[in-house]
């Protein structure tokens, strides 16, 4: 299966702007399905962006974040052609990791 993470990181020399889109249901545990049964909570708990062995962005998420979340931030440094590692872990223990080249 294709990766659940889409990333685009562009360096402008001093800073790197990162955009990411993650495919995840982000169920809160409060919503019922058409049969009236609760959909169990299923959401991303931690999201990390790692550059050069250091975390440049770390988010502790809960059920209040939307389905298929989108993140945009920038950090100081980052060179063109370098790797940026992105990973998430959800409350069911599932995870996904991907590496993107900074453009």
């Amino acid at each position: 299966m294709a990766s659940t993470i889409r990333v685009r990181a562009t360096s402008s020399g001093e800073t790197t702007e990162v955009q990411a889109l993650i495919q995840h249901p982000m169920d809160t545990g409060l919503v019922k399905d058409p049969k009236g049964e609760l959909i169990p909570p299923h959401f991303i708990q931690q999201l990390t962006f790692e550059y050069d062995g250091k975390n440049v962005f770390l988010a502790d998420w809960g059920p209040a974040v939307s389905k298929d979340p989108y993140v945009k931030f920038s950090f100081k440094g980052g060179k063109k052609g370098d790797d940026l590692k992105i990973s998430w872990v959800d409350n069911k223990g599932a995870s996904d990791t991907t590496t993107a080249k900074i453009q």
């Binding site: 685009r8 955009q19 889109l21 495919q23 939307s66 389905k67 298929d68 989108y70």
Partner: protein, 286 residues
Amino acid sequence: MRPVIRSASAVLALTAVWLGLVPAASAVDTPDPVADARAFQKFFVEKFPKVKLEDFVNGPYSMNEDMYRQWQDKEQFPPYDFSLDAGKEMFGKPFKNGKSYADCFPNHGIGVRQNYPYFDEKEGKVITLELALNRCREANGEAPFSYVKDEMAALTAYMAYTSRGKPFDIKIPNDPRALEAYQNGKRYFYTRRGQLNFSCASCHVQNPGERIRAEVLAPAIGILNAMPIYRSEWGGMGTTSRRFTTCNSQIRGVPLEPQADEYRDLEYFLSYVSNGLPISGPGARP
């Protein structure tokens, strides 16, 4: 639409008087899709002199500068991306009998979105892309998909994507049934219904660019060029069928079954009057 109708009927009335012999009623009733489409496009161009004709396919974004800027940002990372990928994968995957979607469509289904819906002279009915996809599945022994979202949206998203930029090219063959289907769709478009007593035209012809609660209404012209769409309100993708059925329930009417004859005729009419405008689907809407 009102001024256009008035001037059109004035011309017709004049001709009728001039000719003397033609009964006025039949002159007015004779459908003329070519003139309809021209008048329809002219109406929007005159109502929104700043908007280029081909920009109407961007729906509410063509009406509101602020939304346009936000959308430009969003398009760099479009929310329909996952669905598009899924659609591409599904489209390329053969059925159990070894055939695939490509075998059901002209040009293997690539870059053909602008020709749908078309009028099938054998069957005497309008065939939409969604209907053709499900028929293709059934003909190959697969269960049909739901018309409103998920797989159907993914497949149509991929087919629209491969047709981006190609102008809508809907034809009305020389067949009285085709003209009847067109007229039927037009009638559906202008008929008021539901508890709120709205017609499709109430919102999408009389009030595009205006707000209905927090939403900016899209112009009817080019509205199908962007289908299927990712709607943030739905939290997912939706097809033309989904758009039609939810429009009807939002005006507190009882929606028809997806791909009912009326909806197919409506899609035929609405696509025909957008002839010449480029396919921009899949789209993203708030």
